[in-house]
């Protein structure tokens, strides 16, 4: 569904990505793991059009998105939940969700129906809908950010740093929600620092190392790979 070939990108004169190859199959959950600064966030920014790739290709459902603007990427069906949630803090939860539907042209009724779906998915958001997003707890903010991404009715949802700073119980809850969304047909690409969580959630995993994908494979297989265990799960 999403195919990335030999992607190079960077900030100013500092290159960060050195030829990334990666493919996400329709209907799966893929995860991307790697140490701090390996280039995971940079890759996602290049995919969503916030950063222009210097070389390589990004193809989604047959359409070349390499040089696309963020609104074109979103229009093509890829929504990006950014690192650190990046909610509109002084806007209500409901308005945040409506911002997610900014590009939609299928009418107020369809948007309202999706709003209901989000409240059903994360009931706490319904209770908090009039509150400013900045007043939510970390876990609620992540729910709001995911729901905001979903409001654009994407076919691929990209999440950067799903569990960052969240309590394990909340992470479990979020993972359950993501599995349900996946069962309903949504494809997911999740960036995650916590390798254990990532490999439990995903079907397929990519490991990034200094700007390249160094290994990839079925998540269950990677979990038992001694090299991965040593490098990312610690030495215990």
């Amino acid at each position: 569904m999403l195919r990335i070939d030999g992607l190079h990108a960077g900030y100013g004169d500092v290159p960060v990505l050195w030829g990334v190859d990666l493919a996400v199959e329709r209907g799966t959950i893929a995860c991307l793991v790697g140490s701090n600064g390996a280039g995971k966030t940079t890759l996602l920014r290049a995919v969503s059009g916030l950063l222009r790739a210097t070389r390589g290709h990004i193809v989604f459902d047959g359409a070349d998105l390499t040089a696309a603007l963020p609104e074109q990427v979103l229009g093509a069906g890829i929504a990006h939940v950014p690192e650190g949630r990046r909610l509109f803090a002084a806007m209500s939860v409901r308005d945040n969700l409506l911002m997610g539907a900014y590009l939609r042209r299928d009418g107020a009724a369809a948007v309202a129906a999706d709003l209901e779906r989000m409240y059903a998915l994360f009931p706490i958001l319904r209770e908090r809908q009039r509150q400013d997003a900045g007043t939510l707890s970390g876990g609620e903010q992540q729910m709001c950010a995911i729901a905001r991404g979903l409001m654009s009715a994407p076919r691929l949802l990209v999440i950067d740093e799903l569990s960052l700073g969240l309590a394990p119980a909340v992470v479990d809850q979020l993972c359950d929600a993501l599995r349900r969304l996946n069962e309903d047909g949504l494809t997911l690409l999740v960036v995650e620092q916590d390798v254990t969580t990532a490999l439990e959630l995903a079907h397929y995993a990519f490991v990034m190392d200094t700007g390249r994908v160094s290994r990839h494979g079925v998540a269950a297989a990677l979990r038992d790979d001694p090299a991965i265990r040593e490098a990312y799960l610690g030495v215990l």
Binding site: P70, A79, L98
Partner: protein
Amino acid sequence: MLTLQILANGLVLGGLYACIAAGFSLVWGVLNVINILHGSIIVLGGYLAFFGYTQLGIHPFFSLLVAAPLFFAFGYFLQSALINRMIAAPVLLTLSLTFGLDLMVQNGMLLAFTADFRKIILDPPLGVLALGPVVIPIDRLLAMALALGLTGLLYLVLSGSRIGRAIVAVRMDREASALMGVNVRRIYAVTFGLGALMAGVAGTLLAMIYPISPLAGTTYLGKAFVICVLGGLGSVPGAMVGGLALGVVESFGGLWLGPEHATTLSFLLLIAVLLVRPTGLLGRKGYE
């Protein structure tokens, strides 16, 4: 009783100030650009109303309807053609850019309209409204009501409409807005257009109350600064509160210290506020 009259004068003045500052504050808050041109756009609005009334007999309250789309288009064009190119440049450059534009517009106005002061004198006059001991000229009262009404309308647009939400979102987090599919550059242009619209409309109202001349814009620009700092960046309610507060402070200051000190007073107020609360009295931190 004098106190009440001064308070009323201050509030009338403050309503107009709010209208002046709302657009300026919006542009500053959303684009992180100080629009030095804002004062001259106010004056241009004033000339539009003046010539509309003296040449064509259009009442200033109606020339609003022409001024609004005209100035919006002017601002939208200026932003998309020129200022968007410099939007990420350092403060000094964006400031110099709008300053240079302002010099050009001022010079143009001097050539076209000469340096004479002009004021719309309504014929017949609308008379005054007496509320007990307090006397308010009706044209001023209407101008204030219109100014506050327009400022309120701007607030409704920002909080209730799709494009308004996008403007607010861009102010809070430009990049996250882009991820929502917002075309940030277009939002910048719309915002600048709205800023120009508010300035132009404020100018048409002001021309009934104060004499205008090509160089009068600087004074209004100064007021907009002060109000922005008082009320916080990019916040319409802040501009409203800040505008009314400045109006009242200036009229009481004029009473106690003499009218020639009113401007100094507002500048000293500005410096004091900047030193105590660098993000404004009601301000919250923007994304800068």
